[in-house]
Symmetry: C2
Subunit: 272 residues, 2 copies
Amino acid sequence: MDGRARWQVVYNELHTLIEEGKYAPGEQLPPERELVERFGFSRATIRTALTRLEQAGLVYAGAGSVGRTVRRPLEIHFDASKFEVGAYKDDEVRGVDQWLSNVEEQGWEGRQVVTVTTRSAPQQVARWLAVEPGTRLVRRRRVRMVRKPPGVEWIPVMLADSWFPEDVAHRKVDGIAPLLEERDITMPGGIIRSIGIRQVKFVDEIRSRMPADDERSLLALPTGTPVGEHARIGIDEHGRRIRVLASVFAGDKQYVRYELPVAQPEAEVKSA
Amino acid sequence: MDGRARWQVVYNELHTLIEEGKYAPGEQLPPERELVERFGFSRATIRTALTRLEQAGLVYAGAGSVGRTVRRPLEIHFDASKFEVGAYKDDEVRGVDQWLSNVEEQGWEGRQVVTVTTRSAPQQVARWLAVEPGTRLVRRRRVRMVRKPPGVEWIPVMLADSWFPEDVAHRKVDGIAPLLEERDITMPGGIIRSIGIRQVKFVDEIRSRMPADDERSLLALPTGTPVGEHARIGIDEHGRRIRVLASVFAGDKQYVRYELPVAQPEAEVKSA
DNA sequence: ACGGATTTGTGCGTATGTATA
DNA sequence: CTATACATACGCACAAATCCG
């Protein structure tokens, strides 16, 4: 052991080669067998190096002839300051979902699958909505997928769960409760507004964590990929927390973006 | 092999026990030797389970007789919508750093160490500032630490790097260039304003990723901890990107928060 | 449809190094 | 200094997934 561990030598070398583009995105790394020969280390040692590369998000692996493949960065972003806050006016008239607009603006085709269930509030959701853990809530889950160009397979990129207190979820307009519908619904002015609720403030929380098992499988995340979590809490004029939209996205594929005007100190005007 | 892998059995059991609080934060997991006995699996198998628990952010490990410890969540947040955007005006008069105010508001004691260097722009920073990769830039790095209560050791929680084009960094006020000073400087109205630059817009980007090696050591991150990255790009009235503040924080310790007022639709179809 | 070849996944046993109390 | 506990490393075997002929 000369200062560094053996697996670190392998790790560093491969890391450099990938960064330099010697192994390009979409390409395969040499199989373990070959690396064992090249470095003269045991398979176990080579494997810890490769495992760390996966954890670092540089490659993903699959048994069989997929081998280890260098990841292709996606880099979609999600404009949280425009979303629901006043932009995308045209889309609401057209009846297009704002997330879709946002994605299409970046040249992707988007799609989402909606499921609605009633379940008791997990710890974190209870905190967001300021209710007791275990309270019955309605969860409206959207699995969001993109592809480019049209025709290739869909890549799941986001898991967007809206949670509502039951009384909110069951509100009706024109005889139906839109929040309970298991399809991609849009309403002029937004669904929430259509059922007579006015949100006056959002509180957004963004954190970085490792995914739960169900998130890993739904988003098809390779082992070791972190996720970002963007929670938007909607608050009405009475200060009640009406809903929370918790979006979980693959850290290597998406990021969240805000645009903020800066309030100028003296006699300046805000650039709304 | 009963459907699941052996290490998964161990993983799931420990995961459950930790979630239920049977192993509380700060407590130690049983040593590997004991788990080998309890489950009747080999040490290697137990180890893969434990490694995954680390990756999942539930425990951290250290060689020696420390063993594996269940993580204690910190949960500090960082109010990005108030930061620099007009709140905390009093502090600027008082000359207190805004990050410090934010942290102290949550009952922590804060401290930061500043270092200034000139270096060529990394890929990502170049993209943020819209300059060529390799351009010489000034980096003002702040390692931010907290502790509670006063007296215990400092916990590094954030790495805040401000990057400036050289001409911006060298601007002077009262004969000194405040951005090049290696100490915790505050100016009424903010440092940037004090050197005659007006930022009119911020663009924030937040992403989740695995830390680079230097970030891991500076933030004392256990293996497998993801980081959040919050980048704030400041844009002046000519549309020039004046600086970027890239903050990297441990995903398990901090999160970013925004408060957004909702634009209300008065007359008809307008916003949501 | 099937079977073989390739490649990663899982698992065992063992030994030695290194950090910490 | 010693005991403990994790980190690294070797070798071996078989299972499971994938692709291709």
